[in-house]
Symmetry: C2
Subunit: 468 residues, 2 copies
């Protein structure tokens, strides 16, 4: 039988520890952190680049599909196996020893299986951090493959912006080594970009060279109550003009989103007596020491001046209590889940279009689904909006699947075709949004992917999403 | 005859103004700003994306090669025709009308033929700039195709880091439109990267969407006299830890380079009585207004403190006179040319390796070419060094070509193989460094290029460099 044969062949090279087969051992690899669940034939845990290549060759010979897996924290189910019980999960968790920091170069070479927290712990000892800042604790290889973004993208960019080099094992076991530690290397095609955001379908990222950033010495946070989306944009434009160098987060939370947090997190205090349409979390941070610049004072003064000129577009400003404000922001997702049925989105549109796009969604709901609540929040500085919808199944009298089937495609259509936006701003592509990839991807881009896939993974053994 | 036939066919669609054929009209397209010279059969000047596609189709039908050309300011001869008189230069200069700024989005859509100066003039009216800062005045499409860097890369990144979307006409006339204005769009292969830095061999960049930056409100410049390369790196590390948010240039100039400037630019003042091994130009700039932060004071205090702890590694610090210091920096290249024969380099190595690499070059020269002077300077913050060599032909008693043939390959070999560096840090690839591309490019990367070239430009009509 194929399963037995592939397990034996993998054991022969990876040893006992390198291959897990029992349901108990497989369990944590088969279920994603939040989404995704399936059954694998086994878990292969190579501990070196050469072993990763062997796993891919062995699986190719046995005609078995392979799911590369980092910390399994993705949100589109791309790192979990399907239900067939025939796929091999290739976990990078044992490829996690190298963290080689070059202090004067301000770069670090890491194994693909190193956790973000593990890297940041090491970097902090030298006054650095890797500033792609997420709610989860992914592995660096997975972060490259999914090009994660996060709440400080506005300031530091996504993984791609901080990536100098990669080592990738292609689908058929060949190894592409481009472990440059160079900030400037302008010599034709920069091949690493083929493996960023393509979810491991062309190859498995086994090592990466990253640029790291000096740790900020101070932070200052405010919460600004805005009347509407236009006021939010005016605030963003004003802040960037003066404080662009030190603005590190600009997170927007609707009244419905904040109300859900307050309802489900009794230990969190209500920030405003009356919740505004949008509460904006503004964070400044800087490497500059406090004897040169006091961020709290700068933020307070700038927001005070803005409040005076903004008329009733800005209702209130609270400076300080950064932890409390971030707590509210970080609890939105789980609080909304507790409210009832939820349909989550990870949309982006040009950020100047966020108010108009959101208003269109509100009109659509008011007309066709008045009992569905819009609880939007997100990274407006980057044009991102988690436009989550919440409803009570009993009130609405229809199955959740029916509501989702009606609303999801029309909101994506509005975002992508109506506002030149994206159906996946930062979560990447996977089985959960494959149909929207198929629908919205330029045919020429699919042809590029078919070409690259045919070259990198000629037997088509790798990954859970189809890009061609 | 082919030339007549292709000119007639191009005239039929582009009109009289769209095709230049006389030697006088062709001259400025046939000679590069600094390097590159050839003879074209004609100059095609399409004024729209559709016309660019037509030019490529017509040339394909007539079996004629095409050289895409921006402002012809490149330094590797990739935008000038060869000597055959059979190539068509495809100039983008008439595709220069669109500069569509989205203020709240902080993005701009530009035609490929728009000049950097033209864009920055328009942006300045709204408090923005495009911060890829160069000595030349290139077109934006050319900047994408060659992924230009410049003196502020340390702070703002290269073109790639600021590029959101592109429109490209492939070699056979198909149009790929990816004019996203999105900062977050994580939906598989980001195909624009195939056309960044690949010098137009896969397609011609006709439009681009760029992220722009708020204009700084203040700048402060200092010149620091360092004993050696290790002192330069210590200074860089100290500055980034505290002033990383506002450090916008870190340019290093050897005593030999500064001496050449002083010898040939009599109006420039000698900054230090005794020229140090390295004079470092440090620039801070910030969007923060002067009532929150005074950069001059911050820079003076920080450098003063560094001077106290650095012992005799740092010899002197001059703050202010930014224009004078930048003048010295900007005159190095031409001053060295006036010194005698010159061999120029555009090398990068991991920046922590710059002192060791430079010392190795010095030893190599001392041993084999004692009459050749090392006049190095460059963007040490990015690991870049223009390691220019200067000599007097009479003293050395050999033809310049002979010296170059001996030194160029061995210094590239030392940089690329000895120090994991690059033979082209920011100038890109073109006929001038084709042989080093061939020598140092990973065979797998060449195979990717062959694959992409076969798809984008199946008749192989485009460009002056071969990437496969």
């Amino acid at each position: 039988m194929t399963v037995d044969a592939v397990v034996s062949a993998l054991r022969a090279t990876l040893g006992e520890r390198g291959v897990l087969t029992t349901p108990e051992d497989r369990a944590r690899f088969e279920t994603g952190w939040r989404y995704g669940k399936g059954t694998a034939c086994c878990i292969a845990r190579p501990a070196s680049t050469a072993e990763v290549a062997t796993v891919l060759r062995v699986c190719g010979e046995h005609g078995v599909r392979v799911v590369p897996q980092g910390a399994n924290t993705g949100l589109v189910a791309s790192s979990t196996p399907d239900a067939s019980g025939t796929m091999v999960v290739l976990s990078l968790e044992r490829l996690n020893r190298t963290i080689e920091l070059d202090v004067a170069g301000r770069t670090v070479l890491v194994d693909g299986g190193v956790l973000l927290s593990q890297l940041n712990q090491e970097l902090a000892r030298h006054g650095f951090w890797f500033p792609v800042d997420l709610g989860a604790d992914p592995q660096l290889g997975g972060m490259v493959a999914t090009n994660t973004g996060g709440t400080r993208l506005l300031r530091y960019g996504d993984v791609r912006h901080n990536l100098l080099g990669v080592e990738v094992v292609l689908g058929d076991g060949r190894v592409l080594t481009q472990l440059n530690r160079l900030r400037k290397n302008n010599t034709g095609l920069d091949a690493k970009h083929l493996f960023v955001g393509t979810t491991g379908v062309f190859g498995v990222v086994t090592r990466a060279v990253l640029q790291v950033a000096p740790l900020p010495k101070q932070r200052s946070v405010a919460l600004v109550a805005c009347r509407d989306g236009d006021a939010v944009l005016a605030l963003l434009t004003a802040l960037e003009a003066d404080l662009g160098d030190v603005l590190s987060a600009f997170e927007v939370m609707s009244a419905n989103a904040v109300a859900a947090v307050l309802a489900h997190q009794p230990n969190l205090r209500r920030p405003f007596a009356e919740l505004p349409r949008y509460a904006v979390l503004v964070e400044l941070s800087s490497t500059l020491p406090a004897d040169t610049l006091v961020l709290d004072a700068v933020l307070e003064a700038r927001l005070g001046a803005f409040l005076e000129t903004a008329g009733d577009a800005v209702l209130d400003v609270l400076v300080g209590k950064g932890d409390e404000f971030w707590q509210i922001r970080h609890h939105i997702s789980e609080s909304l889940r507790s409210e009832g049925k939820m349909l989550a989105f990870d949309i982006s549109v040009p950020r100047s279009a966020l108010p108009a796009f959101t208003a269109d969604v509100e009109r659509l709901l008011a007309r066709d689904w008045p009992a569905v609540r819009l609880c939007d929040y997100g990274h407006w500085g980057d044009g991102g909006t988690h436009l989550n919808l919440v409803w009570n199944e009993a009130t609405i009298g229809r199955a959740a699947a029916e509501v989702i089937a009606a609303l999801q495609p029309s909101i994506y259509e509005l975002a992508v075709r109506g506002y030149a936006g994206s159906y996946s701003a930062e979560h990447g592509v996977g089985p959960h949004n494959q149909r929207y990839y198929d629908l919205y991807t330029d045919p020429l881009v699919k042809q590029f992917c078919a070409l690259l896939g045919g070259f990198c993974d000629p037997q088509d053994r790798l990954g859970t999403v189809r890009l061609e």
